[in-house]
Symmetry: C2
Subunit: 188 residues, 2 copies
Amino acid sequence: MAQETGLSTLSLAILGLISQRPLTGYDVRKVFATTPMGHFSSSPGAIYPALRRIEEAGWVRGKTGEGKTRRERVVYEITARGIRVLKQHLSRPVTRDDVIWHMDDLMMRFAFMDPIVGRETTLRFLQTFASELEAYATELRHYLDSVRQIMPPCGRLAMENGIQGYEMNTQWARRAIEELQGNSQQAD
Amino acid sequence: MAQETGLSTLSLAILGLISQRPLTGYDVRKVFATTPMGHFSSSPGAIYPALRRIEEAGWVRGKTGEGKTRRERVVYEITARGIRVLKQHLSRPVTRDDVIWHMDDLMMRFAFMDPIVGRETTLRFLQTFASELEAYATELRHYLDSVRQIMPPCGRLAMENGIQGYEMNTQWARRAIEELQGNSQQAD
DNA sequence: GTCCGCATGTAAGGCGTTACATGATTAA
DNA sequence: TTAATCATGTAACGCCTTACATGCGGAC
């Protein structure tokens, strides 16, 4: 459900993984099942159709019959077109809308962006990420203050939980900027 | 996509709101559009079908033609059956699975639970919520430590972001417990 | 020689999204 | 009277979910 590029969050996750190194569908499922990757479902009914879609879009190419055995096994690798789309998707500016509605997409973008778009763009991403988050958190705080009296205690606490999440993310981003500036070499 | 009761997160949100006071579909949309409520979509294509479903399930009852004008306007109120289902759904214990896959559902449950299931159950909810979260965060930290060397810096940072989110939620829950214990009166 | 893990898929169903459609009421 | 807001919906589409299905390879 992502913007202009038509890259859903799941497709982005898969394409990002394959951009790092060629993978089979099963490999992707394993990553989703065994790592805390975006807490995606590893169900075959999600992965294989998604792989087919991004292959039909020309972003990856599947190769059969590699390796020793002639077992059915399709290894996907990213195409030049795929890299282009990925780069375009990862370069999109962070909007207020993104931080409100597409946090998971943003974190996914961040996780893959450094090798694809370069350190400088990554840092710019974090800057706007942090400031959009901060602005939104401030706004929510104001809203909360204005309704604090009339809210049931648990509703208020639930809302504070959300706000603290945004504030935490803001701080995380600022720390990340410092870390990445200190360590300027780029994974490539 | 929620467990046994067949109450999706959106249905839960709507049912929870209606449990507080009778609402029209448009009212629900306004709440979603103007408050930070779970960042749901306020699109009519989501709300009205969901309302219809929970009405068909017998959890709410719609009444037409109230108020001054004879404008088409359906006010929904929760039924005894709806309260029963809500209570059952809100009383479910917090599982490890929930904190990994259904955080938004958990926060929604929390936001509505106090008046429906009582302060004591709410506190128990927060207790298990906190300990499940803490356990999972610890586990992720171990995992992160074990792969720290071989991870690209941004992948590591993305993962730390996730872990910090869990830790933040743990602390939030502990603070919430203290607050709710201090202020024992119950919204009813 | 049987069971488990690898590896790939399909089918039905549910539900949210975007976009479109319709009509009543109120404010300018 | 025109526009905005109130209020309710439908249709097409996409995509995820659960469940089922299939066959190879290695281990015991």
